[in-house]
C-alpha cells in the first residue's frame, strides 16, 4: 500500500458556456483498483475521463498522480493507457504496428519492442495476426488489439471509455472476464466509463454514479444496490418499487409507516421522524408471493400483467394505496398454476429489512 492514492481528483469542474458539464467532481482511486464511472449519456462521465487523460482542460480543480499534481500536463506526458469506444485503432497500421506504437514513441529498442508485441499478442490470443490490418479482424479481435495497445507501454492508469458497447452479449462477457483478469494480473489501476449498469456492477471494485455533471454516490456495487442514497440511484441501478408513505411511529431500529390501508415496517433512518414523509425503495426480487408472518410485511393486490423473462417472471401487481408494484419471481417455481395469471389476486410479502428508506429531503 502506498500513502498517496494512485489518482486523486479534487473539485474538478468543466463548463461549456453556461452549462456545467462536470461540477465539483472528487474521487480518490487506490492503486490496482477497478473504478467505474456510471451514468446516463450526458452525465459528464466521459468529460471526467477526458480531463483525467489530459485531452480536456478543467476550468478548476486538480488531478494528482501518486501525489504529483498533473493538472497542467499534456496527454503525452501523462501517457495513460486508453481504450476507446470504437477502439480508435490506426487503420493504416498493422496489428503489430498498432500495439508497438506507444513503445515506439518512447524510443524503445527495436528488439525489445518486437518481443513485447509478441508477448502481448499472445496474452490477448492474437498470435499470428500481427500483419493483419485492423479492418481484417472481427470486432472482438479489434477490441483485444486495442487492449494490448493500451497496456503495451505499462501505463500508470488504464482509462476505458465505453469499450464494450459495440460488442454483442456473448463477446461482451468474454471481454469483461479478460478485463478483470488483466486488472488482477497486472495490478494496473482501471477507470472504466459506461452507461451499462450491469457491466458496472459485475466488473468494478467501486462504482461512481454520475448524473447531470455531479457525482451522486460512490461505493462498492453491493452497497450501491442495497443502500441507494437517492431515488436516482435506486431507479438507475436495477429496478425499484417506490412506495410513498408516512411515518407513524419509530421503535428502536425500525419505523412503522402508513400507506393507504397498509401498515408497513421498515428499517429506521436518522431523519425519519414520526409524521414525516418517506419513500420505501423495494427491489422487485425481494418480494415473495404468498409469504407473511413475523418479520414480514404483507399486502394484497391484483395481477395486471406478467412477462416471461427466462430465468424469472415479472409481474405487474396493482396494490390499493400503493399503486403498481413490480415483482419478479424465479421462473421454475412458476409451473402450472404456480404464478397467478393477470386478473387473479395475489398476496405479496417482504422482510421488514428488505426495503431501504429515503427521506424526502434527499438530493437529486
Amino acid at each position: 500500500m502506498t500513502d498517496a492514492p494512485a489518482l486523486s481528483v479534487r473539485g474538478l469542474t468543466k463548463r461549456y458556456r453556461a452549462v456545467a458539464a462536470v461540477a465539483d467532481f472528487n474521487i480518490d482511486i487506490a492503486a490496482g483498483e477497478f473504478v467505474t464511472l456510471l451514468g446516463p449519456s450526458g452525465s459528464g462521465k466521459s468529460t471526467v475521463l477526458s480531463m483525467i487523460a489530459g485531452f480536456t482542460r478543467p476550468d478548476s480543480g486538480s488531478i494528482r498522480l501518486r501525489g504529483t499534481d498533473i493538472t497542467g500536463w499534456s496527454p503525452e506526458r501523462r501517457a495513460f493507457g486508453m481504450v476507446y469506444q470504437g477502439y480508435a485503432l490506426f487503420p493504416h497500421m498493422s496489428v503489430g504496428e498498432n500495439v508497438a506504437f506507444g513503445l515506439r514513441m518512447r524510443g524503445r529498442p527495436k528488439a525489445d519492442i518486437a518481443a513485447r508485441v509478441a508477448s502481448l499478442l499472445g496474452r490477448v490470443r492474437l498470435t499470428g495476426l500481427e500483419d493483419r490490418l485492423p479492418r481484417q479482424l472481427s470486432g472482438g479481435q479489434q477490441q483485444r488489439v486495442a487492449l494490448a495497445r493500451a497496456i503495451a507501454f505499462e501505463p500508470n492508469l488504464l482509462l476505458l471509455d465505453e469499450p464494450l458497447s459495440a460488442l454483442d452479449r456473448q463477446l461482451r462477457a468474454d471481454v469483461q472476464r479478460e478485463l478483470r483478469e488483466l486488472n488482477r494480473d497486472l495490478g494496473l489501476t482501471f477507470i472504466f466509463v459506461t452507461h451499462d449498469q450491469d457491466e458496472a456492477l459485475s466488473l468494478s471494485d467501486r462504482v461512481a454514479v454520475m448524473n447531470e455533471g455531479r457525482l451522486i454516490q460512490i461505493g462498492t456495487p453491493d452497497a450501491l444496490y442495497e443502500r441507494p442514497a437517492s431515488r436516482f440511484i435506486a431507479g438507475f441501478l436495477g429496478q425499484s418499487n417506490f412506495i410513498e408513505a408516512m411515518v407513524e411511529e419509530r421503535r428502536g431500529a425500525e419505523i412503522a409507516v402508513r400507506c393507504g390501508p397498509w401498515r408497513l415496517i421498515a428499517p429506521a433512518t436518522s431523519s425519519a421522524a414520526a409524521g414525516s414523509a418517506v419513500t420505501l425503495v423495494l427491489r422487485p426480487e425481494r418480494i415473495e408471493p404468498g409469504r407473511s408472518g413475523a418479520g414480514w410485511n404483507s399486502v394484497t393486490g391484483i395481477v395486471v400483467a406478467r412477462s416471461y423473462l427466462g430465468a424469472s417472471i415479472g409481474l405487474d401487481v396493482q396494490v390499493e394505496g400503493i399503486g403498481p408494484v413490480l415483482v419478479t419471481v424465479p421462473a421454475w417455481s412458476g409451473g402450472p398454476g404456480g404464478v397467478p395469471m393477470p386478473g387473479e389476486p395475489i398476496a405479496l410479502g417482504w422482510p421488514h429489512h428488505a426495503a431501504s428508506v429515503l427521506t424526502e429531503a434527499e438530493p437529486a
Partner: protein, 282 residues
C-alpha cells in the same frame, strides 16, 4: 435496390433524351470534328502529331505549361492542406466561416481576379509602391508579365480547388485516432505525421490531380498575368486557331489537352472511389 421495369426504363430514357441529344449535338460532335481535323488538316496523316517531336516552339510551350502546372500544384496543395486542416479540426463556427471563405472566391470570375492581381503586382502597383515607400527596394520588382505573376494568379485561383477534396477526405478521419496517438506518448507533431498525414494521403493525391487538371487547361490567368511573354498550351491553341489560323495544329494540341485531362481524371476517380478514400471505422 428495386429493379426498374422495362416501361420505366423507356420512360426514363424518353425524359433524358433531350439532354442526351443536346450533349451529342453540341459536345460530342464538335469534339469528334476536332479529333478528325487533327488528322486531316491541312493534309491527311500524322503530320500535326509529328510536330510534337520536331517543333521547338511547341515543345517550349508544353515544357512551360508542365513547369507552371507543377509549380502551381506544389504551392497550392500545401496551402489548401493547411486551410482544410484548420477547417476540419476547428470549432463549428470557425468551420462555417472558413468554408465560406474557401467557397466565396469560386464565384468571382478568373478575369476579375487576374486584373486585381495586375493592380497589385504591376511596376507601379500597390506592392512595389509599398516596398519602395518603405525603402526596401530602389527599382520596382518584376512581379508580373512573367512566370512569377502567372504562378501567383494561378495558385490563388486554385487554393479552393486544392482545399475541397482535402476537406472531404479529412472529414472522414476520426480525430480520436490523433488523440489516441497523443495518449500513447506522441507529441502533437508526431501524432500528426504518424496518423493524420498518412490517412489524408488520398486527399493529397486527389487534390494534386484536380489542381493539375484545372491548371493544365488554364487560359485567362496566364493570358493576362503572363502578358504574352509566358505562353501556356491553351493560349497557344487559341493563337493557332484564331490568329494564324492553323486549325490542324490547334486541333492536335486540343486533342493532347483532352487526352491528358482524361488520363488524370481516370487517376482522380481512383482516389475518389469511396473504397480507397475512407479510413476504416469499426
Amino acid at each position: 435496390m428495386r429493379r426498374l421495369s422495362a416501361s420505366t426504363k423507356v420512360a426514363g430514357l424518353a425524359l433524358a433524351a433531350p439532354a442526351l441529344l443536346m450533349l451529342l449535338a453540341f459536345y460530342l460532335v464538335p469534339v469528334g470534328r476536332v479529333l478528325a481535323l487533327s488528322f486531316t488538316d491541312p493534309r491527311p496523316g500524322l503530320d500535326n502529331y509529328a510536330l510534337l517531336f520536331t517543333s521547338s516552339a511547341i515543345q517550349a510551350v508544353l515544357l512551360a505549361t508542365v513547369r507552371i502546372c507543377l509549380i502551381t500544384t506544389a504551392i497550392a496543395v500545401p496551402l489548401g492542406y493547411a486551410m482544410a486542416y484548420v477547417i476540419v479540426t476547428g470549432s463549428q463556427r470557425m468551420r462555417t466561416f472558413l468554408l465560406f471563405g474557401v467557397l466565396l472566391p469560386l464565384w468571382v470570375s478568373a478575369l476579375a481576379r487576374s486584373f486585381v492581381w495586375v493592380t497589385l503586382l504591376q511596376r507601379r502597383g500597390l506592392i512595389n509602391q509599398w516596398l519602395q515607400g518603405a525603402g526596401l527596394i530602389d527599382e520596382p520588382l518584376p512581379l508580373i508579365w512573367n512566370q512569377f505573376g502567372v504562378v501567383v494568379g494561378m495558385v490563388h485561383y486554385m487554393i479552393p480547388y486544392a482545399a475541397l477534396p482535402l476537406i472531404a477526405v479529412m472529414s472522414g478521419i476520426d480525430l480520436k485516432l490523433v488523440e489516441a496517438a497523443r495518449g500513447m506518448g506522441a507529441s502533437k507533431g508526431r501524432a500528426f505525421r504518424a496518423v493524420f498525414l498518412p490517412l489524408s494521403m488520398p486527399g493529397i493525391a486527389a487534390s494534386a490531380l484536380l489542381v493539375l487538371i484545372l491548371t493544365f487547361g488554364f487560359y485567362t490567368t496566364p493570358a493576362i498575368l503572363g502578358g504574352g511573354r509566358v505562353m501556356m498550351i491553351a493560349q497557344y491553341i487559341t493563337t493557332q486557331i484564331l490568329v494564324l489560323p492553323r486549325w490542324g495544329v490547334g486541333a492536335m494540341l486540343a486533342v493532347l489537352l483532352v487526352a491528358v485531362t482524361v488520363a488524370l481524371l481516370g487517376l482522380l476517380a481512383r482516389f475518389f472511389d469511396p473504397a480507397h478514400m475512407r479510413p476504416e471505422r469499426p
